[in-house]
Amino acid sequence: MAINRWIQSGNYRRSYKEDQTIFATFSEQASLIVFLIFLALVPHMPFMNRQLFRVVDLAFIYTIAVMGLNIVTGYAGQINIGQAAFMGVGAYAAVTITRDIATPLFQFGKTLPFWYIIILLPLSGLVAALVGAFVGLPSYRLKHLYLAIATLAFQIIFTWGVGHSPFLNQGGSIRIARLDFFGTVIKGSKTIGPFFYYFALIVLIIMAIAMRNILRSKYGRALIAVRDNDRAADAMGINPGLTKVYAFAISGFFAGVAGAIFALYNGSVIVESFSLSTSIDFLAMAIVGGLGTMVGSLIGPSFMLFLDPFVEKFSGFAQTIFPSTIDVATAMRPTIFGLIIVLFLIYEPRGLANWWRLLRQYFWRWPFKY
């Protein structure tokens, strides 16, 4: 009997070709289209103010970086505590390429043409990918915590190196010109917020499609094979070392693109934006979202960024209960976020992505329970 791809309630893929499809069902495809239409309409909603635009825009940008982290940590199983530094490499690549190469070469004025941005993003990603591959080299010999320390070392070296480089203004802010989008200069928060909402969303969609395609190719399966058992993968003809380096390079590319958008969005780059705490935030976003799932990369950053203002308000409230000599508010944010990560690791290691899966299955099977 032919399967109705609108109402099927499980995975009935019977051939390799069917297994290669991006969407299991038409309803999945349709719901994604509806969701994207909803996202396209969000900027026109009356509740969207500058603050919300910033939160959503940042969520989109960070999602791209977290997708990269999920490739290296979630799919390839290599712990990376330096994703913010890779993002920083992309951001600094964007500003220095623009300042020292593109501006003298193309005689840019106070704005950057949009065509240049289309070139700049992959170029910045490429620089970060090369750095990612280099940083990934220890993964030939190192595993687990030792590799984590190697990536941590990169994070520290990055922060120190930028902070001591006069070429990079010793980590102080370096300006990057605003965009000229076919005659409209994208400046001022009223314009930047909605513009980068769409811009980051489109890049995010492109990167998500790229990620999905990488993961369903033999290279993507190689990542998972190396994560699950690198000796078995080796026996099957996969080069584990090269696969890990390749995972770091892809991860770096994603982070680099995110960094370039981040630089364009803020109009300047400062080293403090790419600190160790940002790297740990990225790791938390990936864990809470769900390591090794694409949906997790998409949900995690939004969840954490939207939670932050509430934690801030709660911290303020908690401080009113305790005496002023006890600084409860300062401890509140790391405590709450730390607790969330620990609780997720203990009770829901598959992250929010699993809740999303259960929710979808509920509707697939409805009105039946099983």
């Binding site: 500058r50 010793q170 980590g171 403090e272 801030e312």
Partner: protein, 399 residues
């Protein structure tokens, strides 16, 4: 008919309320109430909130209510930018920044939004071009403070050869801010910088101090915050180095908290700042005590220089609002213009600092003078009159 009268009365009341409603001047602040450096930020925000309330209670800007919105950013740049943009939705006319990183990142935004920013950060790069039209420093920069200490060393050094100085700076743009200018000034003044040590925080500085001692360091200049400086002083005391090395520091290294934290190890520490101290008999300090007591602050806050910082920042903006109100409506345009006319007859003397506050198109530093103070018998005592660093304009001309 009765209903009609009631409706008319209500309408008239509404119309009167609207007619006599005070207009608002919105000033935004974003800083670290929690997180790193919150030991300073929590007092700065108290100063800002109290002065705003004081301005409303005393009707300092007739016809206007000052609305100071303050939000914690946990010393996180993303949060600072988020707060800044949310205040724009509330028609903010001026912004008070806090962290160096966040303020540096906001330079481009202030230009695009045409909203002035005066920060607690005294990084000279904030008022250097590009995007410096709307950036202001309330008092002298870190660079000028550090250079004033170099000048003191050059003038007072008694040994043979060039005085040997080690710098201890925070590992961030905040800490590195004066280093480049310090190197240039050291050459002019004939002072040798032996080492620039970067650090965020530490529990013990014994190794660093012993290294400096072996290298013959005679002076240490700190560009950091109070707690690590206090730790260094305590370590130096344990090593018996307090007589061999003269410890000194820029604005955020000193104040009452340093003495509390370091105890008698703080004795002889030299501090460069533009602020008066709460125990000085100055009108601004009397006002500080009055405001602090009126709004229920504890003694720690009232005696804190960071509380003075908040009071000064808020008072400057409120004075600008007053000047703007004199010439018409207070808008962000008129507010900015008023800020730039705060010179000559319009010079502002709130009494919190050793000199008057003045701004113009070419001068974006409020208080241009500073003093050196030294801990003597457990309290800071001025060892110089108010002055300007002579080397600062040579090494850092207006950019």
């Amino acid at each position: 008919m009765k209903k009609l009268y009631i409706s008319l009365a209500l309408l008239a009341a509404l119309a009167l309320t609207t007619a006599f409603a005070q207009k608002e001047v919105v000033i935004g602040w974003s800083g670290a109430v929690t997180g790193p450096t919150s030991d300073a930020g929590k007092y700065v925000v108290q100063g800002i909130e109290d002065y705003c309330q004081y301005a409303n209670d005393e009707n300092l800007v007739p016809g206007y209510t000052i609305k100071c919105i303050t939000r914690d950013d946990e010393y996180n740049n993303d949060n600072t930018l988020r707060n800044f943009e949310s205040y724009l939705d509330e028609d903010m006319v001026a912004f008070i920044g806090y962290a160096t990183g966040g303020s540096l990142q906001l330079k481009v935004n202030t230009t695009e939004e045409e909203v002035p920013l005066m920060g607690s950060s005294l990084h000279i790069g904030l008022i250097d071009s590009p995007d410096n039209e709307y950036m202001f420093l309330p008092i002298t920069s870190y660079s000028e403070q550090v250079l004033s200490l170099f000048e003191w060393i050059a003038e007072n050094h008694e040994g043979d050869g060039a005085p040997k100085v080690a710098m201890f700076v925070h590992a961030s743009p905040f800490g590195r801010a004066p280093v480049e200018d310090a190197r240039l000034a050291a050459e002019i003044l004939g002072v040798e910088i032996v080492e620039v040590q970067e650090a965020t925080k530490g529990l013990d500085y014994t190794a660093m101090l012993q290294r400096w001692d072996n290298a013959g360091v005679e002076y240490m200049i700190g560009q950091h915050v109070q707690s690590p400086i206090a730790t260094i002083l305590n370590s130096a005391k344990d090593l018996g180095l307090l007589d061999k090395i003269q410890f000194m520091g820029a604005h955020y290294t000193g104040g009452t908290s340093l003495i509390t934290l370091a105890g008698d190890a703080a004795e002889n520490f030299i501090w460069s700042t533009s602020f008066y101290l709460p125990d000085e008999n100055q009108p601004g300090m009397t006002l500080q005590r009055t405001i602090g007591e009126r709004y229920g602050r504890n003694q720690d806050a009232i005696e804190e220089t960071n509380y003075t910082t908040g009071l000064l920042q808020a008072s400057i903006y409120i004075e600008a609002a007053r000047l703007a109100a004199l010439s018409g409506d207070v808008t962000k345009e008129s507010f900015y213009s008023a800020l730039l006319t705060m010179n000559g007859d319009n010079e502002f003397e709130p009494g919190f600092s050793v000199g008057p506050v003045s701004f113009s198109e070419d001068d974006h530093i409020g208080v241009d003078a500073l003093r050196l103070l030294q801990v003597q018998d457990g309290k800071f005592v001025a060892i110089t009159e108010a002055f300007n660093s002579a080397t600062f304009p040579q090494v850092h001309p207006p950019r």
